[in-house]
Amino acid sequence: MAPFLGRPGYTPLPRPYDPPRAARFPDPPPALAGMDHVHGHVSPGVLVRVAQRLGISLATIDATMTTDEVLDEIDVQSYLYDVDCPPQTKPPR
């Protein structure tokens, strides 16, 4: 199920040869809403990433940003990650 199918979002580069994350992701803080992981679409804690990149608090995000601005920020981060960290082109030895 893709919650954001209605929005023409950024598609990250495929990374078939990148080593997968070995450890499990931690559960998000239960008191904070909107942190959950949607498999294949949104990584866990995206709101925290947005807050970190913009240097603002989570409360400021809710007070000053619209949802599409947050989604734009998530797209920007995915794009920059693809620019800065090119995918592995060969399987690891």
Binding site: M1, P8, L32, A33, G34, L47, T64, T67, V70
Partner: protein, 230 residues
């Protein structure tokens, strides 16, 4: 800088009696980002192909004869219409063009729903999405034929979207919000939203809508807002 209030208004034509049709004005706002993301996750998990069904209901009520035409049109230009609606929304415009006929509005909503539903599968988790309803034996004339012992995800969506009833006059009218001094028909709903009281909101909503069809349309509209990029 305060968050831009992304708001939309619609006028829903509902049958309130034999041969009697009324236009009801409603307004909703986009929830805050953290609530939007949480609602998308939970509703998305329970949704399956539900938006398509609701948009069809919308279409059927708005223009019963348009169903066949919609079927053809959405096959040929569906995605283009949906993307056009997204662009309108993104530039701060209402999804409903002022000059757009009712048929056009339903076609847009249906196109958006199909784009959303495309690629989705699974089945609807009814109890999670809609709550468990029970028969309403009050028969007081104002309530629906059923009621919810507890609020559902979709009630929560409507509450977090700050749903407001703006009356049935030719132009929308906001409730004043003054406790005890407002005879506006949407006063109880506005007060429940202002206080964030889910149970009061569900009761007020049941007494404000004309029937299950209008409630379905409101949910479809709010879902569209939740999914579309404002």
């Amino acid at each position: 800088m305060a968050r831009v209030r992304a708001e939309d208004r619609v006028r829903i034509e509902v049958q309130v009696g034999p041969g009697e049709v009324e236009g009801h004005w409603w307004a909703i706002e986009q929830p805050s980002p953290s609530v939007s993301l949480a609602l998308r996750l939970r509703i998305g998990a329970a949704l399956g192909p539900f938006p398509d069904y609701m948009m069809r209901e919308f279409s059927r009520l708005m223009d019963p004869d348009a169903e066949a035409a919609l079927e053809v049109d959405t096959k040929t230009v569906g995605d283009a219409l949906a993307l056009q609606a997204f662009r309108r929304a993104r530039s701060g415009q209402s999804i409903q063009d002022g000059d757009q006929p009712a048929h056009g509005v339903s076609m847009t909503l249906l196109a958006v729903a199909r784009l959303i539903a495309h690629g989705t599968g699974g089945r609807v988790d009814g109890p999670l999405l809609l709550g468990v309803h029970e028969r309403n034996t009050d028969r007081d004339g104002d309530s629906l034929g059923f009621k919810w012992p507890g609020p559902s995800l979709l009630h929560r969506l409507l509450l977090d979207s700050r749903l407001r009833y703006l009356g049935a006059a030719s132009k929308p009218r906001e409730p004043s919000g003054v406790v005890g001094e407002d005879d506006h028909p949407g006063h109880d709903l506005a007060e429940a939203v202002a206080r964030g009281q889910v149970a009061a909101f569900v009761n007020a909503l049941d007494e404000t809508v004309s029937g299950p069809d209008e409630l379905t349309l409101l949910v479809a509209w709010a879902l569209l807002h939740l999914w579309r990029p404002f």
